[in-house]
Amino acid sequence: MTKKKLVVIGAGMASGRMLEHLLEGGGPESKNWDVTLFNGEPRGNYNRLMLSPVLSGEKTYEQIVTHDDDWYEAQGIACRFGEQITQIDRERQVVVSKGGETPYDALVIATGSAPFIIPVQGKDLPGVCTYRDLEDTNAMIAASRPGAKAVVIGGGLLGLEAAAGMAARGAEVTVIHLMGHLMERQLDPSAGYLLQKDLERRGIRVHCKGATKAILGKDRVEAVLLDDGTVYDADLVCMAVGIRPEVRLANDAHLEVGRGIVVNDQMQTSDLAIYALGECVEHEKQLFGLVAPLYDQAKILAETLNGNTAAFQPVQTATKLKVTGVDLFSAGDFAEGPGREDIVFRDPGRGVYKRLILEGDRLLGAVMYGDTADGSWFFDLIKQGKDVSDIRDTLIFGPAFAAGGAAANPLAAVAALPPEAEICGCNGVCKGKIIQAVEGGATTLDAVRATTKASSSCGTCTGLVEKVMALTLGDSFTANANPPMCKCTDHTHEDVRRMIKAQGLKSIPAVMQELGWKTVGGCASCRPALNYYLLADWPLEYRDDRQSRFVNERNHANIQKDGTYSVVPRMWGGVTTPAELRAIADAADKYNVPMVKVTGGQRIDLLGVKKEDLPAIWSDFNEAGMVSGHAYAKGLRTVKTCVGEQFCRFGTQDSTGLGIKLEKLLWGSWTPAKVKLGVSGCPRNCAEATCKDVGVVCVDSGYQISVAGAAGMDVKETELLCTVPTEEEALEVIAAFAQLYRENARYLHRIYKWVAKVGLDWCKDQIADRATRKALYDRFMISQSVYQTDPWAELAERPADWAPIKTLTLEAAE
C-alpha cells in the first residue's frame, strides 16, 4: 500500500513532540506516513525553553537539541531545514518552497509565533534583537561582554530570563517594563516587588511604568529613550514584549484565522486536510504560550492522524521563572472575581509571600514567592477542583499541616518557642528576656521597649513581642493603646513611618510585604497615607501613585456633591490683575460655570465645572498665565495677606510681598494635611494670620512667626515659634518648619494636632538649631525640585482621560 504524505511546516517543540507520538509510539498505523519536515530555521527540533540556560552559560546548544540527524533518519523523515514555505495551494494539496512544490495528503502547520516588535524609531538598528531563537541567543551572548550595557524591553517571563542570562555573563542590564510590576500576568504586585528586589540584588536595574519612546543610535544602537525622558545607554537592546501567532501562511491560504489559526478539538483547521498546533493556533478563542498545553495538542494531533479519536482539552498551567536562585510559582486563576476570597501569608524576614485564591470550597489559584516547595501540591488541588473546606484554616501552611499538624494558632506557635529564641533581630533580644522584663513589671509595649530594646529599632517584630507579652500576662494584657493604621495592619502610623525610613522601603508593595500587611492591596484609608509617606521620604526615588490618591488630588479639583468640580486658579498672595480677572470671567462664561465665588483664602472659585471640561478650562487658564491653586490638595493651599506698607498707613513691612514669596516657595509641596498661611503687615492682623497653620505678623523689628493655629472644627490661636529680623530668615524658617511637619506628622493630622503631640518646644529646638534648620530647608528644596510642577499643564494634554470611555446616548438623541 502506498504511504500517505504528511508535510509538517515548522520544527518547533510542539511539532517535534507530535512526530514522536506519531512515529514512535503510534502502532502499525504510524508506518503509513511519509513525513517531510520543513523549518525556516536552518536546524531541527531543539528545546526552545532551554535557550535561557544557554544564554546564561549553564548549558550549550548541543545539550538542548531534542532530535538529532540520526533520529530523523531512523524515523525516515525528510528534513528540509532552512527552507521556508512560501505558499499553501489547497486546491492541488501542495506546499511551495524554493525547492519547488511538495504534495501532501495531510498538512500540519506549526509555525509558532513571532516576537512582537514595538513600532518605535530605531527598532531596525543593528544591535536590536528579540528573544526567540538560537540566532537571538547567540547575538546576546556575543554582546554580553563584561561591562557591556544591555537594555531589555519587557519584564515578562522571557524578558527577565534574557536579562538574567546577560547579567550572568557580566553585562550591565536594565529592564524596562511598561506595567507597574514585573510579570504582571503571572504575579500580583507583592510577588512582583519581591522579584524586583531579587533581581536588583543581582545588579539588574528595573524600571517599571517605563514606556519606550525611541531607540537611539546612528549606525547601531546606542541608547533607549523613555517617555519620561530617562535615557539608558545600550550596546544591545532586546525586545521581549510579547509574541503573536505566526499566521501569515494560513491567512494567505484563506483558512479561518482569528488571533491564531482556528482549530477544533482534533486540531483540525477549517480545511479538513490541514491541521495546526502550537503557538500559532487558537482553540475556543484561547491562545497558548506555555509548553504544557502544546504537548497536549501534540498528543491529540498524533492520535487524530493515526485515526484514533481524541479531543484537546486545555488544562490549567503553572509558571516558573527559569532564573537560578529565584523561586516563584503561579498557577491557576488569581484574578479577583465574584465570590472569590484570598488567604495571604507573608514572612518579611525570609522574603516569603504566599497567596491562595478560593471560590467557595475550591482552590482557584496560587501565587508564591520565596518558598515554592508546596507549589505542586496546590497546583494539584487547583486541577482537581478538590473541596478544601476541611483544611481551609491551615491550607496556606501546606500539605504538612493538612496531614494533621498542630492547629495553626499564632499564639501557640509563639508559646512553642524556646526561651532562647530570638524575637528582635535588630537588638538581639530573645523570648526569655522579654518574659523576664514583663514579669519584672514592664506591662506595656513602651515599657518592654525601654527595658529590653525589643522592637525599638525597625519595629517589624512588634507583633511578636506583643504575643510574648500576651502569653506572659494572660488576660491582663492590653494591646498598644495607639490604634493601628487601619484594619490592613497592626502597626501604627508612627511605626509605619519609622520603618519606611529605617528599612528603606520605597514602594507600596514593599511596605505591604515587609511590614506584613494583612490584605492584598490595602484599603482607601492606608493607601493614600502610604503614598504620602513614600513621596515625602523618598522624593527622588518614589513615583507618585495616582490611583492611591483621593479623588480631589487625582483629578486636581474638588469634587462637589453633584459630582461636578470646583476650579481655583492660583493668585499669588491673593493679588490678581485685570487680565487674570478677564480670563476667569471668560472661562466662567465659556464653561457655563453656575457659581463664581471668592474664598476665605482670597481666591476665586469656579464651582460646578463638568469633569470632561476640566482639561480645557485648565488649558485656558494656563494660556492666561495661571497655574493650579491646589485648593484640593493636602499641601499648601493659600497665603492670605493684607496690603502692607505699600498702601496701608499702619503697615510695618511688605506683607503682600512676603506672602507672594512664601507662596512661590511652598506651592506644589505635598503635606500630611492642608496647610494655610497668613501674613499680616502689623499687629492689627487684617490677614487673620494668628488662626492659620503658620502665621506671620510683621512688626517694626522683623517678623513674628507663629504656628499651630486652627479655625475649623477646632478654633485655636497660633503659638510663637520664633521672631526673625529679615525676610530671608522668615522664608527659611517657614520652609524648614514645613519640612519638619512633612517628615514627622501622621497623615491627615493638621499642624496644630501634630504640634500638640510632639510639643512646641521640640519644634522650637529643631528650628533654633542652625544646622538642623538648614538641613530641613535643603531637604524641602530637594522635594520641591520634583513636586513643584503645575499639574494642569501636564494633564491638560490628555483630555481623553477625563471623558467617558464610551457614550451610548447618541442614538437616543437622534
Binding site: E184, K285, G522, A524, R546, V551, D562, G563, I805, L808
Partner: protein
C-alpha cells in the same frame, strides 16, 4: 453566554485600580479595573447621596465612595460594614484586550 454584549473600549484605557464611565440613556455606568485586570460594572451612583463611585479608591475588589467613604463590593454591589445599600451591577468581560458590558436595553 446570553445577552447583548456592548463594546466599550480597550482595557488599557482604564487605569489599574481605577475606573472610567460609560454614559447611557439612564445615567452613567462605572467600569472598574482591579490591580489584577478584572473588570466590574456598577451604576456610577452611591445609594447614599449619589456620589460617583468611579472616582473612588479601588482596593482589592472593593471601591470606597469619594463623597462619604461608603465601601461597596464590586462583585455584588452591596455596601460593606455598617452601611446598608445596594448598587445595581452589570455583567462585564474582557476579550482580546477589549471590555464588553451586557447592559441590555441601555446599550
Amino acid at each position: 453566554m446570553t445577552g447583548t454584549w456592548t463594546l466599550v473600549g480597550p482595557l488599557a484605557d482604564i487605569p489599574r485600580q481605577g475606573a472610567r464611565v460609560v454614559k447611557t440613556r439612564n445615567g452613567c455606568i462605572a467600569v472598574f479595573r482591579t490591580a489584577e485586570d478584572e473588570v466590574f460594572a456598577l451604576n456610577d451612583s452611591c445609594p447614599h447621596k449619589g456620589g460617583p463611585l468611579s472616582e473612588g479608591i479601588v482596593h482589592g475588589t472593593s471601591v470606597t465612595c469619594p463623597l462619604h467613604a461608603w465601601v461597596f463590593d464590586l462583585n455584588s454591589g452591596t455596601a460593606q460594614g455598617a452601611d446598608v445599600g445596594q448598587v445595581p451591577t452589570w455583567p462585564a468581560r474582557v476579550e482580546g484586550g477589549q471590555v464588553y458590558l451586557d447592559i441590555g436595553q441601555l446599550g
